[in-house]
């Protein structure tokens, strides 16, 4: 189109060309700037996801792995996992764990953020530093530290509880019962997740206009009502984002359980991620493992949708 205009009206077209080039540039610049990021995402996310999806429709065992060639089986893998009672047990366990870990993380994280507002400068700095240190500890290191703390033979936790006369915890095995075992794992996961929640909520709290809080207090609202009626609604976008992110993180918990239990968790400790991993890498059923992983991705996609919608809405307000 432009070339036709050019040949017929040389003068006007030059002006227009300059104009349109500018406009074209302005219109395409954002997309051009997005290209590297999109390429990276395509490379490290979309392509593996495509492969994962493809694998989930194939029979892909050790035999196929060696020949780099799967066999198409349609929905076989999915019907297999949906008919496997273990899958439902694991799914239920994972959802329960996620619910427990996310609620604990949110409640404790918010409580500490509120505490930060109340305490003096010194304590605040000390607390923030401690939180940052927790945040900065690599997961693998953190799990190892916790593993030693709850160790059967030499754990400091057993020793402390015994010294405090809370019972005889010498050689107490925290992982005999999956409930107490998951208690330890939940504590570890929540401990690692609190700093991010606290610091984000604290930043949000700092944005709440002081006048609103004062007005509410003058009107006779008690602190809890002020928090519930004024602070909470104002911070709702932040809470929604934090909760969605926490769900995504906790639903796919892997390292904490894997490392804590010597890379051989018994089936009572299987969560979705571990179940998928063991189907793939332990039993060499890569197709089945991928199908489980796809189900996981879909679940997390649900959580992400809420998060994305909130993000977009937050963007509109600004």
């Amino acid at each position: 189109m432009v070339s036709v205009a050019e040949s017929e009206y040389p003068l006007a077209s030059r002006r227009r060309r300059r104009f349109s080039r500018q406009r074209l540039g302005r219109a395409t610049a954002p997309y051009l700037l997005l290209v590297p990021a999109a390429a990276v995402i395509g490379l490290v996310l979309a392509y593996p996801l495509y492969l994962l999806g493809k694998l989930s429709f194939e029979k892909y065992g050790l035999f196929e792995l060696i020949r780099h060639q799967g066999r198409w089986v349609g929905l076989d893998n999915y019907s297999k996992i949906f008919h496997d009672s273990q899958f439902w047990t694991v799914l239920g366990r994972t959802l329960l764990f996620t619910a427990a870990a996310v609620s604990l993380t949110m409640v404790l994280g918010t409580a500490i953020a509120l505490l930060l507002l109340q305490v003096g400068r010194f304590i605040r700095v000390a607390l923030t530093t401690a939180l940052i240190l927790v945040w900065a500890t690599p997961v693998v290191v953190a799990v190892d530290i916790w593993r030693w703390m709850v160790d059967y033979e030499f754990g400091v936790l057993n020793w402390t509880l015994t010294e405090l006369h809370l019972g005889n915890f010498i050689r107490h095995d925290w992982f005999v019962s999956p409930w107490s075992g998951f208690g330890v794992i939940t504590a570890l996961v929540v401990w690692g997740a609190i700093p991010f929640v606290t610091i984000t909520v604290y930043a949000g709290l700092a944005q709440v206009p002081q006048e609103l809080l004062e007005a509410a207090a003058i009107d006779g609202a008690r602190p809890w009502s002020v928090f519930r009626e004024v602070t909470m609604p104002l911070l709702k976008p932040i809470f929604v984002i934090l909760i969605s992110l926490s769900i995504i993180w906790d639903f796919q918990v892997f390292q904490q359980i894997w490392i804590m239990l010597d890379q051989r968790p018994t089936s009572d400790y299987y969560t979705m991620a571990i179940y998928a991993f063991s189907q793939s890498f332990r039993l060499s059923e890569y197709g089945l493992g991928s199908a489980i992983a796809v189900v996981m991705v879909l679940f997390m996609f649900l959580a992400t949708t809420v998060y994305l919608r909130q993000m977009l809405r937050a963007g509109e307000v600004e």
Binding site: A37, H68, D173, D262, S284
Partner: protein, 427 residues
Amino acid sequence: MKVRYFAVAILAALFAVAASTASGGTSRSHATKLTVWLMVDAQSGWPEAVATANRLFKAQHPDVDVDVQYQTWGAHLAKFDASLAGSNAPDVIELGNSEMSKYMAAGAFKSLKRSVFPNNKTWLQGLTTSCMYSGKLYGVPYYAGARAVIYRKDQYAGAKIKSTPKSLDQFVAAGKKLMKKYGKGGDYSALYFPGKNWYASMAFVYDYGGQIAVQKNGKWKGVLNSKQAIAALTKLKATVLSLSRANKTGDEANPQQALVFAKGKVASFIGNGWEWPYALDEKLGNPALAPVMGAYPMPSHIAGKFMPTFLGGSDLGIPVTSKNTNLAVDWIKAYTGTPAQTQIAKAGNIANTTKLLAYNASNPKLAPFARAAKFSWFVPTSPNWANVENADVLQNMLVKIFTGRATVKAAANSASSQITRILNSGA
């Protein structure tokens, strides 16, 4: 911001990979590297044998570097699968003899010519069988191991136990004496027996006439819920609960049971030959225990007999992806030849050749294990067996039994049906 750093990191990583593959491509023609995966046991138990093999190999191929990488039992198969999927599998790999059939059946190994390997006419029969699939040889026997009771002579004497037990009941009675004498503190074990120790546990099952699975008309059936197996597992539970204060949800390698033994609060454990010298290791163990250590085969529930021991062992194979088959064969020859095998036997194992059996019998530290090896049991010979191990079916069952999370019967029933399903699943 984050995305930008991420992008830069990705780009940097990409360039690094590109650069390394480029240099790999050009250097391949003159200098080659041979990658060997051995299990950690070789690193802690018989590093001299590995050094000997490398020396012999280097004399033959001065321009080839041997890169021996040590793997753990918990993770090595997952890593092997991943390396087969990529194209960076090792040139030589050690697999447990019970893991071989799954990989041979899937075509993961190159077939080998038996006659080129040293001592091939005198290889241990049990190991050789584990290297064969449909009449072809896919592996070379590496070493075998048998388990026996490794014990503290001084503590036995202290508890007035006159001679080593001749029956399971005597063994339990002796253990109770030890617990009475030394077990007040709550952290002492007359028999250190972690909950997931399935090799030692299944010995009870086979001793009572039970089996893990049987094959009938081409179909496998898990039979850990048979009358004999239930009796064995019940006896095992009583024995372990009364004599062991080891972690019921732990296994024998985390921490290494020989090193727990070296700390002094353990009178005995069921271990491999190499674990005896390992307990005396200067850095990790306790050399002072040397004069008070002994071993005897685990006694059977029938007086005067031994409990069958798991015929454990390892084989060496060459993955189909290897581009250095001839070099790999030469390295295996060096490592399975008499010089290296003598060192492996010296470390407490049964060498891959019957030629060296006399060496074991004449050494008081090895003789009990050689005697124990005469009665042995082996896992069901199905290509799917490795999946039973990988799914931790037996470990899960044992943990349930020892912790009381399920009755012996319920745990055995559920394990049996799982075993039936896994062994019969289409390969």
